[in-house]
């Protein structure tokens, strides 16, 4: 077993008793570490964000390739000088994984999407522990950050991050949205296309409900492709687009085939401002929830200053580096 050497090594160096870590990942698989992971390869962008929130970023030795060329590249360059200087290896992403590069990096933990089953099997066959992630609700995000806390020895930080986010949500829920009789219905658009939306088993669905609104798509899928007729039937009050480089709300408002929709007629079409800030697979969902709540119920949340909320959240989640991200 590869941990043989490192176990002894840690016993020699540390005066603390060996901390035995045991977590269960999203596959239901048990992951055991003899000590907090210090050589982590994380192939999920949102999970990587969580590790930086835990201030365990220095333990990361491999990142997903989209960190360097995706829509969040700018922010990660600010979070970590090694990313800015393009010095952190990227042995894969959500789709392609170089097992050889991973093995060569000698990680003590690999974090990867649970859907990448073949890659997982071959990484594990090299005796490397794998934590597999599948997120379909905000509860899952809390579990993920808690597990990362355990795995990196930063449980305290994890608990305080969770507490902060929970408090923010409670604050939001106690706002006077109950005065609104009819819940706004929201149609969410993924950037892949107008008819690609989030169903009821998704973090987006949680987001919409936390904002006091209703997801108009009733399909129990994380990602659903629908027919335009369904959209006309549902007739949402508000349309929310995820950060989208190809289209903006004006394109939707101008499209002739959607002119029947209330959202289009009342020009209630919004775009989430940034792929990094509005990442709904991280604790940053609280900020997105606030944005959405304000779009749905502008009078109830008139006092909510979203710029101020953004500043506070970045500072709380990313510490002093959060300040850099504001620029």
């Amino acid at each position: 077993m590869p941990c043989f050497q490192s176990c002894r090594h840690s016993e020699d160096r540390s005066d603390k008793p060996a901390t035995y870590i045991e977590v269960i990942d999203f596959r239901g698989r048990e992951i055991n570490l003899d000590k907090p992971a210090t050589r982590i390869i994380c192939l999920i962008e949102s999970a990587l964000s969580g590790i930086y929130m835990l201030k365990a970023g220095d333990n990361v030795i491999g990142v997903p390739s989209e960190i360097y060329n995706g829509p969040t590249a700018e922010q990660y360059a600010l979070l970590d000088d090694r990313i800015r200087d393009k010095k952190l290896p990227s042995p894969g992403n959500w789709d392609f994984v170089s097992i050889e590069n991973i093995v060569a990096l000698q990680p003590d933990l690999v974090i990867i999407w649970a859907s990448q089953t073949e890659s997982i099997a071959s990484i594990e066959s090299h005796g490397i522990p794998v934590y597999a992630v599948f997120l379909k609700s905000f509860t899952d995000i809390y579990k993920e950050i808690k597990d990362f806390g355990l795995l990196t020895g930063t449980s305290q930080r994890a608990d305080s991050l969770i507490k902060y986010t929970e408090d923010e949500i409670i604050k939001l829920e106690s706002a006077p949205q109950s005065s609104v009789v009819k819940k706004s219905s929201v149609y969410f658009i993924w950037p892949q296309g107008l008819l690609e939306t989030a169903g009821t088993t998704s973090t987006v669905n949680d987001l919409i409900e936390l904002a006091g609104a209703k997801n108009c798509c009733p399909i129990p899928q994380e990602h659903a492709v629908i027919n335009k007729e369904n959209l006309l039937d549902w007739n949402p009050d508000i349309i929310v687009m995820w950060f989208n480089a190809l289209q903006n709300p004006d394109d939707i408002i101008a499209s002739t085939d959607l002119k029947y929709l209330n959202a289009v007629r009342n020009m209630q079409v919004y775009e989430l401002p940034s792929a990094f800030l509005c990442d709904m697979w991280t604790l940053k969902f609280a900020y997105t929830t606030k944005l959405l709540a304000k779009w749905c119920y502008p009078s109830a949340y008139a006092d909510l200053n979203t710029d101020e909320e953004k500043r506070k959240m970045l500072f709380e989640l990313y510490g002093e580096k959060g300040g850099n991200l504001l620029k």
């Binding site: 492709v225 190809l246 499209s255």
Partner: protein
């Protein structure tokens, strides 16, 4: 006589089919009954029904028909000029070229997706043709070989684009390569109707020439036809039609291969009749398949799934039933 009835019904079928298709769809509000009431009594949610029929269903029906028709007619033409009943737009590298063009446009937004798919589809065929051309001669084998190689190159390039693009754009590439009609709109229809019509029109003019070309280069040349020139014209027209179809609806697997064979089984190989029949039957058959998919599924699956699941068994049924003379 039987042949005649079949071909007449293929000519007559499209119009009632298009009208009937207007009544089919997943909308809970625009049911046939509600549509009748809205039309004849002007009651119910008239503006919704108006929107569903004219903004959603009609453009989709027309686009589906055009796409199916142009894939079939160009498949039939490719088979004739290459004298190869196993040819379709994939063999020429057209599909892969178009898919790469779309992926590139989606990832880097330098051109509209449809235009880029079209240009790269044309580029792929042009490359295949250029690679196969030797001593002013384009042999059938070398063209197909070149097409397969070009196809491989564009598939490799597509993979590179996939690797370097972010996941939120990538999935649409996957949808794109499996074929989709659910994004149909008047805009899409407008952008594809001119190139498809132009390609189909040229193929229609050349329909009998295809018979001559299908017999062989020597056989065409000695009766007064310049085979290379005619093949090139047909090639460009068929590419124009099929790459525009691919640009509008993605890659619909093997449709351009299956339909010409079905038409041949129903009506014989004479391209004078096959060319118009392929367009009409290809359009109508894809529309029927799409109607079925819109009836049975509450959500959208790529149309390629249904063309295979419905088209292939029908094809096999006909193949078993008809003696088409491929055995010799």
């Amino acid at each position: 006589m039987k042949k005649r009835i079949i071909s007449i019904s293929i000519y007559v079928l499209p119009l009632p089919l298009i009208l009937a298709s207007l009544f089919i769809g997943p909308s809970q509000s625009a049911t046939p009954e509600a549509i009748f009431r809205a039309i004849f009594y002007d009651t119910g949610n008239v503006s919704l029904i108006h929107s569903v029929l004219l903004d959603v269903r009609l453009p989709r029906i027309l686009l589906t028909f055009l796409v199916g028709g142009s894939l079939a007619i160009s498949g039939c033409s490719f088979q004739a000029i290459f004298r190869n009943p196993l040819t379709d737009s994939y063999i020429l590298g057209l599909s892969s070229g178009a898919a790469f063009g779309a992926a590139l446009a989606l990832a880097y937004s330098f051109l509209p997706v449809q235009l880029s798919a079209f240009l790269f589809g044309l580029l792929a065929v042009g490359l295949s043709y250029y690679m196969a051309r030797k001593n002013k001669n384009v042999s059938i084998v070398s063209l197909i070989l070149a097409g397969i190689i070009v196809s491989g190159i564009f598939t490799a390039l597509l993979t590179i684009v996939q690797f370097f693009s972010d996941p939120f754009r990538l999935q649409s590439i996957v949808h794109w390569t499996m074929g989709n009609l659910h994004n149909a709109s008047w805009e899409k229809l407008e952008s594809s109707v001119i190139p498809i019509t132009a390609g189909v029109f040229i193929l229609f003019i050349f329909r009998w020439r295809l018979n001559v070309l299908a017999l062989g280069d020597d056989e065409a040349r000695t009766v007064g036809i310049n085979p290379e020139r005619d093949q090139l014209i047909v090639l460009i027209a068929a590419t124009l039609a099929s790459s525009s179809a691919v640009a509008a609806a993605g890659i619909i697997g093997l449709y351009g291969l299956i339909v010409p064979h079905i038409v041949r089984m129903l009506n014989g190989p004479d391209n004078r009749q096959s060319i118009p029949l392929n367009f009409l039957f290809g359009g109508a058959f894809l529309l029927i398949i799409d109607d079925i998919s819109r009836t049975i599924a509450g959500f959208e699956l790529p149309i390629g799934v249904f063309t295979m699941l419905i088209g292939a068994p029908f094809f096999i049924f006909l193949m078993k039933k008809t003696n088409i003379g491929w055995n010799s």
